[in-house]
Each structure stands twice: as structure tokens, then as C-alpha cells.
């Protein structure tokens, strides 16, 4: 290289000129590149008439999918700054799904406990709220799985109670969101305890975290992604930390679909699969920094 450079002094000037031209070309090329990237983000999914036709007639008529979510589970689903718009990875996936299916998607806030009943009675078309697909729930609704996550144990910053795992929760007060798999997890953990785990259940995950923040409970159980979000967000990092790196009982999140809506489940599964295949799914997950929980394929009723 050195000899080449030193023996090619005369070629430096044209070389510089070439560099200049390349620079101009590069700067010209940069703009369309970015524009393409922006288009991909915006074009969340490509509309598919066949999938649209799979939808139940009333939904096609309405042109709208109503999706229930508990907007207290950042970064999956949470309220935006205006206190009314629901934002997060789930609304983004839902909107992309709507694009593919050719319908509008509306996310509405519901306490976690109310989601399945409303899906079943048709008040909601779908439930998408970091809900783990379990055998028990499969008895009420069908699940189209789209994410994988386990449970983390959160404690107050500094871990004043010295909790290092599920076992240490015996005899302690623990806050969980009502109706979640964490409630079941604690019930199962109870069997290893001499002293009873005093489980406090709250309508939203935020209420459970408020209890921990104010020292009224010793720990709170959260899915891993929102827990990571909590301990890394500068506004909450000073208040919470993980008790242990262990992730308990990993499971799959599923979109809850009523069993009596023929075609809806198939449409959702096909749509989500299309998003996974087209990369929109991965793009949404990485936008919310939860790509570790990505699934390779979209399944139905995979609960244990």
C-alpha cells in the first residue's frame, strides 16, 4: 500500500477528484435510501384482499377492529403524553395488522380482567394486552401467539428487603396485576413457602408498581420486557431494580380471539405471519427495543 501510494503521486489528484464525485454520489444516494426506509416503516403491511375476505362479515362492514388492551404496560401498551392515545409495540403491531387486513384498528383501554369477557361477548373484537397464552385461558378464547416473555421480580431500588428470587417472597407482600399469569405463578410458588405470600392484586400494572414505589409491598411481578423498560427508563430507573436475573415461566403472548368468530382467528394469524415474513414485525419490535422476545412463527393455542 505504502509503495503504491508513494509511487502514484501523479494519480492522487484524479483520485481526489474521484473521491469528490463519489462523495457527491453518496450524498445523493443517501436521500432516496432514507426515503425508502421511511416508506417501509409507514407501509406497515401490504393489504391482502384474500385475508380481508377471511374476516367476519360484520367486521368487514364496519371496517374497524376494536382491540382491548390494558394501557399500563410500557412498552407494550401505554398512554401517550396526552393521556388518551394508546401507544406501544402492541398498537403498532395492531395497526400493521389492520393495514394487511384492510380495516382500521382501534385500541381501547380496559382493565386486564375485563378483556377476556368483553372479547367473548363481542364488545371487543380482539384482546392484545401482553396476555400469556395458557391452557386455562384457551378454554375461554383462542390465542394467536406473537411474542415470547417470562416473568421478572421487581423490587425497590437498593433492594431493601434483600429479595433474590421467588423463594424470598414467602411471608412478603407482593403486588401483581389482577388476572395475569403472575397471579397463577405466585399461587404455584406458594407451595414452596412455609409463610404465606401475601398477594395484592390491582386493576392495572401501574397501580401494582405504585404500591412497590411507595413501599407498601416488597416486590412486584412483571413480564420481562416492561420490567426492563422500567429499570432502564430514566424516570423510573431510580425507583426499581431486578431482584434476580432469572426469568420465570417463559410463555407466549397471544391475541385473544372469540371462538365464535369464524375466520377472524385465521385472518389474524395469516396477517401476523405476513408481518413476520415481511420484516415489519421485527422492525416494530426493535423500535420498542424488545426484539429479544420475537417469535419465529405465529401459532394458535400453544399454551401450556
Amino acid at each position: 500500500m505504502i509503495t503504491q501510494h508513494s509511487s502514484a503521486w501523479t494519480r492522487i489528484a484524479p483520485g481526489l477528484a474521484l473521491l469528490g464525485i463519489l462523495g457527491v454520489l453518496a450524498s445523493c444516494a443517501a436521500v432516496p435510501e432514507k426515503a425508502v426506509a421511511a416508506d417501509e416503516t409507514a407501509a406497515v403491511g401490504r393489504y391482502d384482499q384474500a385475508l380481508h375476505d377471511l374476516l367476519p362479515a360484520d367486521i368487514r362492514e364496519r371496517g374497524l377492529l376494536r382491540v382491548g388492551t390494558d394501557a399500563s404496560y410500557a412498552p407494550m401498551s401505554t398512554f401517550g403524553p396526552d393521556g388518551r392515545t394508546i401507544v406501544g409495540s402492541e398498537p403498532d403491531l395492531g395497526r400493521a395488522l389492520g393495514e394487511v387486513l384492510g380495516v382500521d384498528v382501534e385500541f381501547v383501554h380496559r382493565d386486564f380482567m375485563r378483556i377476556l369477557p368483553e372479547v367473548r361477548d363481542g364488545s371487543l373484537d380482539l384482546g392484545m394486552s401482553a396476555m400469556t397464552d395458557t391452557r386455562e385461558r384457551e378454554r375461554k378464547v383462542d390465542f394467536v401467539t406473537y411474542f415470547s416473555a417470562g416473568t421478572a421480580v421487581l423490587v425497590q431500588h437498593g433492594n431493601p428487603e434483600g429479595i433474590s428470587g421467588l423463594r424470598d417472597l414467602c411471608g412478603k407482600k407482593v403486588a401483581v396485576e389482577d388476572g395475569t399469569t403472575q397471579v397463577d405463578l405466585l399461587a404455584r410458588a406458594q407451595s414452596h413457602c412455609a409463610a404465606t405470600i401475601r398477594v395484592r392484586r390491582f386493576a392495572t400494572n401501574s397501580d401494582a408498581l405504585l404500591q412497590l414505589r411507595t413501599g407498601r409491598v416488597a416486590a412486584a411481578l412483571n413480564d420481562l420486557p416492561p420490567a426492563v423498560y422500567l429499570v432502564s427508563d430514566p424516570r423510573t430507573a431510580a425507583q426499581f431494580q431486578f431482584a434476580t436475573t432469572t426469568q420465570y415461566e417463559p410463555g407466549l403472548y397471544g391475541v385473544a380471539v372469540a371462538k365464535n368468530r369464524p375466520g377472524l382467528r385465521e385472518a389474524v394469524q395469516a396477517g401476523l405471519s405476513r408481518l413476520v415474513d415481511s420484516g415489519v414485525y421485527a422492525e416494530v419490535l426493535s423500535r420498542w427495543k424488545i426484539q429479544e422476545g420475537a417469535v419465529g412463527q405465529v401459532t394458535v393455542n400453544s399454551g401450556r
Partner: protein, 659 residues
């Protein structure tokens, strides 16, 4: 000329500086005051926002948990909200408080009303809908609009419209401003003062420098008098003014030249010359009015402008100035006497340009050098055309080289015997073009230059040679030679004369050297020394032109004089004037009592000669006997007694200037 009171340029410059620097200082002050007000406002906003947030989170939001404003508040929510806000409202910590739903409808109002002051399309309301907080300061209250988030999830239920008292915040801000602004103003004032002082000092220094520079450019550094340039300006102004006002007032331009100044420089050094010039400058200034202008034109030449004076006044004044100048001056431990020639011309009569006036005054001054008056008024179309002094000097040098000078002799008669006892050598210039020139035409120039030394040497040599010649044919006449002040200023002069005598083999007693009063007065000490040396070697010394110079009697005492020659001024009118007779008689007695012989000059009548003989005067010279002639002619006269007496001419005779 109407005069307006005008500001000094330096003061004006300073005022401009002061005014200009006032602008940035004022702007800075305004910017700072504006900054204080801005900060006060910002402070008020921050405080308002913080208060509103606390009110929202601590009093309003807890009461509205689970509320749905579109359907209204439950009685519990309403009473909760009332109880949590009552005290703040009652105490005035909060002026007014409403909760609106997202459509802008009032869900709660502190006074039970149902209409809001906020329109739905109010930008503040739109900001609150989007999750932001809007704060406006209007009148005496601060209005804050912000969403209410009762849930931990961050879900909003409506918009809080709260009015906080602004007067407290305002008072605080005003209080801060009240204390800060005077401090700032004092600082700015100090800054401005410093700026002003700096510019004052700078402009003053600059002005002084400029004034000094101007002064130096137009003044002579030695005497502090205006220089030639300023003199020209003043003269030109005076000319213009006299031209504008008509001929009547007019004025005079005078050129003054010191006699024998060069000798002072040569013998006593430049320092003495400078000292003398300073004294002269001082005396000239002192003897004139404040309207008059004295300037040093260069060297020993001064110029005077006397505006608005008539001729008689001017001449009288200048004579007085000349007298004042001639007072003895102590310079470098010696007493010098200064004589000066004044050339006067009048404007606008004589010339209408400064150049012309200077030329005329110069011409008159040169005439004055030749005459006894000292003050000479220029006469248009006057006597001799002036020959340029430098041209003349060149010609004189050639004349010396080519022996163009001749000596004529005037006899000195012993009044007792009527015999010729001696002769006075008088120099003439045989000019190749202008013919035989009288001393008046060239001697003043010679005396002002070094030529005088050579000329005196030539005259002495020629006279001694002639003396040897007439001795050989049997005449025992002594010879008198005039020497100038410059000769007497040099100590080597005595040796030179003695050497000449030796070489010609003439006895020193047969040589008489005549010196004028003014030559002696110029530097008495050196002159006295030279005279003493000459006298000691046996040479007779005569004091020439006695009575018209300024010799003090005391100076006579100090000089080894053998003979005193009374000036013709006293002799000519002797027959008519009793006073002259008294003076001449006294001088004869004085001379005799000092051991000197007396010679009367300019005797033109037998009557005078008779009177002089009776008064005891020893010798006499004059046209009564003979005008200056070559010595062989004189020899013939002496031998034939009064042979030539009848051939005596009565032509108007020019005054002899001693050579």
C-alpha cells in the same frame, strides 16, 4: 466680524464621544432591564406551572379516579374535589378552578357555575388536549390549562383550568427588579463615567498634541515667536483686512536685522547667540501692543506687523523699540549691546502682497544698515536699485582677488599749525562695470560677511605700503585705518597687525586704528583686550564717530584710547547751534582729561575750523581742506600749502563709511 461663541474642538470631540458612548450604554441598560423583566416573567411562569401541577396531582386528580367526565361527576367525586380545593380557594391561594371534559364542557367549577371562560378552539385548550400545559398571564391572575391524569397509567380524564393570583408573584418580581435595577444603573453609570473619563483624557491629550503640533509648525522653537510662515499668514490677513476697510487705517510691515549678530555667534558661540536672540525677542514683544505681531523670520532677522497705525506713530514707536533693544544685554557673562536695523514699509500703500512688502522692508532695512538712523522707511522708486547681497559678495570676493580696491586718503589737519599730520585711508571699489563705488554701496555687505577680515588685511597692507612710499618722498604723515567690530572680536588681530608692521618696517606709532563706538559696544571685553594689545605695541587707537553710537562713558575708561573723533553730526551745525557747541566743547575737555587727542570730523567751513581751534580741538578733517584723494595728490597739496584748496569741489558729498 460677528463672533459666535464657539466650542473648543477638543471639547466638541469629547461631547461627541460622550453622546455616542451614551447610545451603547443606554442600549445595554435597556437590554438588561428587559432581561430582568423577562426573567421575572419566566420566574412567574415556572412558579405558576409548578403550582398548577401540584394542585392537579394533589387535589384534583385523586378526586377524579375512575371518573368519566362525559357523564358527569359522582356526588362522591364532587364532594371529594370540593373538600380538597375549598381551603386553597378560601385563602386565595387559588383564584378560581374548573375541570372541563375533552369537549370543553364544565364538569366542575369552584363557584358552582357551568360556563367556562375557555373556548374549545382556544389554543391553550388544544395544548392541554394534546397533553401539554398552557400558561397565560392576564391582568392580575395566571391561567393554567393542563390535562388531569388521575390514573397511574397516565390516562387523562379531562382538562384542569386553574387561575392563580399573579399579584404575589408580580410583587416578588417587582421587588427583585426594584433592588436589581438601581444596582445595575449604578454600574452602568460607573461604566459610562469611566468611558467618559477615558474619552475626555484621550481627547484632551489629542487636542493638546494637536495644539502643540500646530504651535510648533508655526512658531520658532528658540524664541517662541511666530515663524516666517505664521508671519506671512498674519501679514496676509492684515493686508486683506486693510484692503476691505479701505486705505485709511493701513498698517506697517517691519523687517528687523541685528547688527553684528554673526560675530556674537562666532566669538561667543551659538549658545550666546541663542541667548541674545531670546532677549531680543522678549524686548521686541514687550515694547509692542497685543495687536502687533513679532515673528522670527530666521537667523537674526525679525519681522513686525503693526496694524492700524499712521506713519509718524509707526516710526516713533520703532525708534522707541530700537532704543529698548540697545539696552546692554548680559550674555554668557559678558555685556553686549545690540543694535538693529529696521526696514519699514506701509500697506496697502507700498505693496499689495506679502512678498512685495517683505522685499520693500528688506530693501529699506539694508539702507538702514548704511545709515545712521537705524529705522528706514521704504520710499517707492527710491534711490539706488538694490543689488542682491549674495551677488555682491561674489563680486567682492573677485574684487579682492583682482585688486579692484583702491585707497584714497583724507588729510588730518593740525588745527594749531594748519599742517597735515596724518591721513585717513578710505577704501573705494573700482568696479569693472559700475565704476568707482563709494563704501556705502558695498561695505555693509562686506561687514556682514567674513570678507571684512580679508579686506581689512588688504587695506592695512596697502596703507602701510603707501606710508613707506610717502615717507620715502619726505612726508611724515601717520596713517589711520578703520577696523570693524569683527576684526576686534578676534584676539589674533593684534598679532596680525604687528606682524604687518614688522614686515613693512613701519614704526607702530605711525599707525592709527579707528574703531566705531558700536564696534566696541558689541563685545566690550574682547574688544578691550584686543585694543589693549594693539595699544601696548605702540599703535595709536582712535574712537571713531563719537557721539552717535551708544558708548557709555564708563566704557571709555576701560579702553586704551589715544584719540577721539567727534562725529560730523555735531560739527556740521556747530556754527548755528549753541547746544552742539556745548557738547563739542565738553567732549574736547573730556577727551583731554582722559589723555586723548580730539579730532573733529566733517569740517566744511573756516568758521567752524576757527571755532574748533579756539575750543582746543587738536585735529580736524573735512572738505574744507580736501576730499579723499590718492596720496600723491595729497603730497602735492601738502607741499603747496593750500594749492588745491581753491579746486575744492562743493558737490554733495556722501557720508564716508569707515573702512
Amino acid at each position: 466680524m460677528p463672533r459666535r461663541p464657539r466650542l473648543h474642538p477638543g471639547t466638541r470631540l469629547f461631547l461627541v464621544y460622550a453622546a455616542v458612548s451614551l447610545v451603547p450604554v443606554t442600549l445595554l441598560g435597556l437590554a438588561l432591564i428587559h432581561g430582568y423583566q423577562e426573567r421575572g416573567q419566566a420566574h412567574a411562569r415556572e412558579q405558576g406551572l409548578a403550582e398548577a401541577q401540584v394542585i392537579e396531582q394533589m387535589a384534583v386528580a385523586p378526586a377524579l379516579r375512575g371518573a368519566d367526565l362525559s357523564v358527569g361527576l359522582t356526588p362522591h367525586q364532587r364532594s371529594y374535589l370540593q373538600s380538597s380545593t375549598d381551603l386553597a380557594l378560601f385563602n386565595g391561594s387559588v383564584t378560581s378552578l374548573q375541570v372541563l371534559d375533552f369537549e370543553g364542557q364544565v364538569a366542575f367549577s369552584d363557584d358552582g357555575g357551568s360556563t367556562s371562560q375557555v373556548a374549545v378552539d382556544d389554543p391553550g385548550f388544544q395544548t392541554a388536549l394534546a397533553g401539554g400545559t398552557d400558561l397565560r398571564i392576564s391582568g392580575r391572575s395566571v391561567r393554567v390549562l393542563q390535562p388531569v391524569f388521575p390514573e397511574t397509567s397516565g390516562q387523562a380524564v379531562g382538562v384542569l383550568e386553574v387561575y392563580l393570583p399573579y399579584s404575589d408573584i408580580l410583587a416578588k418580581v417587582q421587588e427583585e427588579t426594584r433592588t436589581a435595577v438601581p444596582r445595575m444603573l449604578a454600574g452602568l453609570l460607573a461604566l459610562y463615567t469611566v468611558l467618559a473619563m477615558i474619552s475626555f483624557l484621550t481627547t484632551r491629550a489629542l487636542t493638546r498634541y494637536a495644539v502643540e503640533h500646530e504651535r510648533q509648525a508655526l512658531h520658532d522653537s528658540l524664541t517662541g515667536l511666530p515663524n516666517r510662515e505664521l508671519f506671512r499668514r498674519v501679514a496676509s490677513r492684515a493686508l486683506t483686512r486693510s484692503a476691505r476697510l479701505g486705505h485709511r487705517p493701513g498698517g506697517a510691515l517691519v523687517v528687523v536685522d541685528l547688527d553684528h549678530f554673526k560675530e556674537v555667534n562666532d566669538t561667543l558661540g551659538h549658545h550666546a547667540g541663542d541667548e541674545l536672540l531670546q532677549v531680543v525677542a522678549q524686548r521686541l514683544s514687550d515694547s509692542l501692543r497685543s495687536d502687533d505681531t513679532v515673528a522670527r523670520l530666521g537667523g537674526d532677522e525679525f519681522g513686525i506687523i503693526l496694524p492700524s497705525r499712521d506713519r509718524a506713530d509707526t516710526v516713533a514707536l520703532l525708534c522707541e523699540v530700537r532704543r529698548a533693544l540697545s539696552e546692554p544685554v548680559p550674555v554668557s557673562g559678558r555685556i553686549l549691546s545690540v543694535e538693529a536695523s529696521f526696514g519699514v514699509c506701509f500697506f496697502p500703500d507700498d505693496a499689495d502682497t506679502v512678498e512685495g512688502l517683505l522685499q520693500h522692508a528688506d530693501a529699506a532695512m539694508y539702507q538702514g544698515k548704511h545709515g545712521p538712523q537705524g529705522v528706514v522707511v521704504y520710499e517707492p522708486g527710491g534711490s539706488t536699485p538694490q543689488v542682491d547681497a549674495l551677488v555682491l559678495q561674489g563680486e567682492l570676493r573677485r574684487a579682492l582677488d583682482h585688486e579692484q580696491f583702491v585707497l584714497l586718503y583724507q588729510p588730518k589737519i593740525d588745527l594749531a599749525t594748519g599742517r597735515v599730520t596724518g591721513v585717513e585711508a578710505l577704501v573705494r571699489w573700482q568696479h569693472p562695470e559700475r565704476g568707482l563705488l563709494a563704501p556705502a554701496e558695498f561695505l555693509p555687505v562686506v561687514e556682514r560677511s567674513e570678507l571684512i577680515v580679508s579686506l581689512t588685511r588688504w587695506v592695512l597692507g596697502r596703507a602701510l605700503a603707501d606710508l613707506v612710499a610717502w615717507t620715502a618722498v619726505g612726508h611724515d604723515w601717520t596713517v589711520s585705518v578703520n577696523v570693524s567690530a569683527k576684526n576686534l572680536a578676534s584676539l589674533s588681530f593684534a598679532e596680525e597687525v604687528i606682524d604687518l608692521l614688522d614686515r613693512s618696517g613701519v614704526s607702530p606709532s605711525r599707525l592709527c586704528l579707528e574703531v566705531t563706538e558700536s564696534a566696541i559696544a558689541f563685545d566690550l571685553e574682547t574688544t578691550a583686550e584686543v585694543i589693549a594689545a594693539l595699544s601696548a605695541s605702540g599703535i595709536a587707537m582712535a574712537l571713531d564717530d563719537f557721539g552717535v553710537g551708544y558708548t557709555a562713558i564708563s566704557q571709555l575708561r576701560a579702553l586704551a584710547m589715544d584719540e577721539i573723533k567727534i562725529d560730523r553730526l555735531f560739527i556740521t551745525g556747530l556754527a548755528e547751534l549753541e547746544q552742539d557747541r556745548a557738547i563739542v566743547g565738553s567732549v574736547i575737555d573730556l577727551a583731554h582729561s582722559l589723555g586723548c587727542t580730539v579730532t573733529a570730523e566733517g569740517v566744511e567751513s573756516a568758521e567752524v575750523a576757527t571755532w574748533l581751534g579756539q575750543a582746543g580741538c587738536d585735529h580736524a578733517q573735512g572738505y574744507l581742506w580736501l576730499r579723499p584723494v590718492p596720496w600723491p595728490v595729497l603730497a602735492a597739496y601738502d607741499q603747496s600749502g593750500s594749492a588745491l584748496r581753491t579746486g575744492q569741489t562743493h558737490e554733495h558729498r556722501p557720508r564716508e563709511v569707515p573702512a
